[in-house]
Symmetry: C2
Subunit: 400 residues, 2 copies
């Protein structure tokens, strides 16, 4: 992963960034060193093991622990009104500002599972707290996978204990694997810059239009983060909140930032934003069936909220998404989607002078699209993946 150069896309003047930061849209701080991706920030250990939820010996349960007593944390949870049991338990009982440990599983989202599901979530959390010797309110849990299926709680509790016994300061990749569902690859990074280290793991794939978080994302650092909640919300606003795969807000979205402060230095400006944006783009690029990700920029809206509404209408339009897949520079579909978002209002006609969809039809790796509404100064952008045969196959042929 370190220092391999990404293929040029031929479409931009800037040099393509190397390694983890592959996207043309991400600007990491200068002089950043990329570490082995299994490395965790100092003070953190993690593990991922198999407990039979996904079958075939696949890694499906993980634990991550901050070994220092001091930790500043921030937790973002889905706004979905059908939130899963682990999300509700975290809301009910976690001390979100001081979370030391997290237990995770894939294969079962423990969502729409009733009172039994909530009791199973409590049992999972208690097993992690006991095995790690950490107070219950300092343990978060996150689950992802099928909705509405009873959890194999005994297997999961056994898995949590096995993972707690296997903690390692090189457990980042195993931990990232333990949260994969229809993801093609684990998503994680470890970077060092200005004397601080930051590691992060995420997963995505389907049901991706985060309200303020994506499916699951965990970030650890030894930097000092004075206001972790504000730092996380701000970074999420420019990353996870700017992607859509299928317009579907998950029942399980969870993002956790943990900072020990042991390095006695602040997080370099822009680092958290760059890491979360690259992870968000990887989630979009690895969206179910996705073959490419575009950015739509909406300008000249009455205000930013209107621009946002138009950007989401375009990025979630199945007609625009199939055009992205089919390399069809079909700007008429962008005009239609924008017009739907502004239904009933006066709008100057959106012709090719106002819509740039050229890269939609080209083989550009990360096509850049734009529309100027001619109504004011509001702006917004959104990254979205394409709608492909494989999206239909994955979601029609398998229960996910």
């Amino acid at each position: 992963m370190s220092a391999t150069s990404a293929p040029g896309d031929g479409g931009t003047a800037e040099a393509a960034p190397a390694g983890f930061f592959r996207s043309r849209w991400v600007s990491p701080p200068p002089d950043l060193e990329q570490l082995d991706p299994s490395v965790l920030a100092p003070g953190f250990r993690a593990a991922g093991v198999a407990c039979g939820l996904k079958g075939a010996g696949e890694t499906d349960v993980g634990v991550l622990l901050c070994s220092t007593e001091r930790v500043d944390s921030a937790l973002a949870l889905t706004a979905n009104a059908s939130a899963a049991a682990p999300v509700r338990l975290c809301r009910d009982e976690c001390d979100a500002a001081a979370i030391r440990a997290i237990a995770v599983n894939s294969g079962n989202a423990n969502a729409s599972t009733g009172d039994q599901g909530y009791r199973d979530a409590v049992q999972m959390r208690d097993a992690a707290a006991d095995a790690l010797g950490v107070a219950r309110r300092a343990v978060a849990i996150a689950e992802t996978g099928t909705i509405g299926v009873p959890l194999k709680a005994d297997a999961l509790v056994g898995g949590v204990r096995d993972a707690a016994a296997a903690l390692s300061d090189h457990g980042g990749v195993d931990f990232a694997r333990s949260i994969m569902t229809t993801d093609r690859e684990p998503k994680q990074c470890a970077v060092r810059v200005c004397g601080v280290t930051l590691s992060a793991q995420a997963k995505g794939a389907g049901m991706i239009e985060p309200g303020f978080a994506t499916m699951l994302c965990f970030v650890q650092t030894d930097a000092v983060v004075q206001e972790p909640d504000a730092a996380l919300r701000s970074a999420l606003a420019g990353s996870m909140e700017r992607i859509t795969v299928d317009g579907q807000m998950s029942t399980n979205d969870t993002v956790l930032l943990q900072a020990t402060g042991a390095a006695d230095r602040p997080l370099p400006e822009g680092l958290l934003d760059a890491v979360l944006l690259q992870l968000a783009l990887e989630i979009a690029a690895d969206g179910e069936g996705a073959t490419r990700v575009a950015r739509i920029q909406v300008r000249e809206a009455r205000d930013d909220a209107e621009a946002e509404r138009v950007a989401r209408a375009i990025g979630n339009s199945p007609l625009v998404k199939t055009a992205l897949f089919g390399r069809d520079p079909n700007w008429g579909r962008i005009a239609q989607a924008a017009g739907q978002a502004l239904a009933g209002e006066e709008l100057e006609e959106l012709g090719p002078d106002r819509i740039d969809a050229t890269e939609l039809g080209a083989e550009t790796a990360e096509p850049e699209l734009s529309v100027a509404l001619g109504r004011g100064q509001g702006a917004a952008h959104l990254y979205f993946s394409d709608l492909t045969y494989d999206y239909v196959r994955i979601n029609a042929e398998y229960t996910t």
Copy 2:
């Protein structure tokens, strides 16, 4: 089309209605006679011919004329802010309550075509008015097809004149063919009941989530319709406004009701509703790539508007639509979509006791789904088609 019995779906106690009214969800008035579908209501003549917009000699331009001077009409047009030139021209210049003639074409939507597109629409309308000897304000036009492509106006004007010269009281099917785009079959009917006749033609296929109308739909009758606008709005609210194919509001939606009153009798109660609902269901069933149509009923919402919001979130969810295609009784995706529509609100967990998705997984022809939110007395329903490989193929491989 007359009196052929539809195959039973094995899922309902009621006998399947015969002929045009194939759906279990449509209740036409009793003692209804189905006429040859090419027949038009007395006083109306129509034609469809080829002028080269679609190529390969396909019927792509049509004209329909009410020969009596007296006609009461109602016109519904898309709310899309990127409305096409023909829609804007109708808004600007039509006397919506007294429309005698309509000229239509397929192959080019004349949308996002700038000032030239508007001038082309005027030219088309004027050609029809002149050829038919009807005042310009009594002529509506409607176009459907590709967005953002200049219209071959000369060919179209020639086609309008040819069609005007070919008018026939058996022109219903040719006229219906002249508005087809990705539709698999023309959609029309002619019925007689209680001494009045009603004929109708429609088209759909893609970009279908009408704001108050579908792509194109024309209805003619010799009945007396006292308040055509109210009658049309009410019938649309229960039909065209209750379907979605891909959640995309068209730039060109147009519905026209014309009533001569020559039969000196009122429209039988429920007839217009039944005809428009069956046409709406045919549009959904013939949605791009669609293999089946389901009905979602949302009950126990705080109010009808909330139920409507939840129904649209479910009917437009690509995860629910692929489950409909894959015969996957995946009620968890219904819980997720409902939870997204109610994001940030308190909601009792939606388990299998509140969601009935059994028919999603069965081979039932018209699966019936329901969700009870447990929040109040509000209700709404929506008909939606599935998301299939063919939807992706049609929209990725061709410019539409």
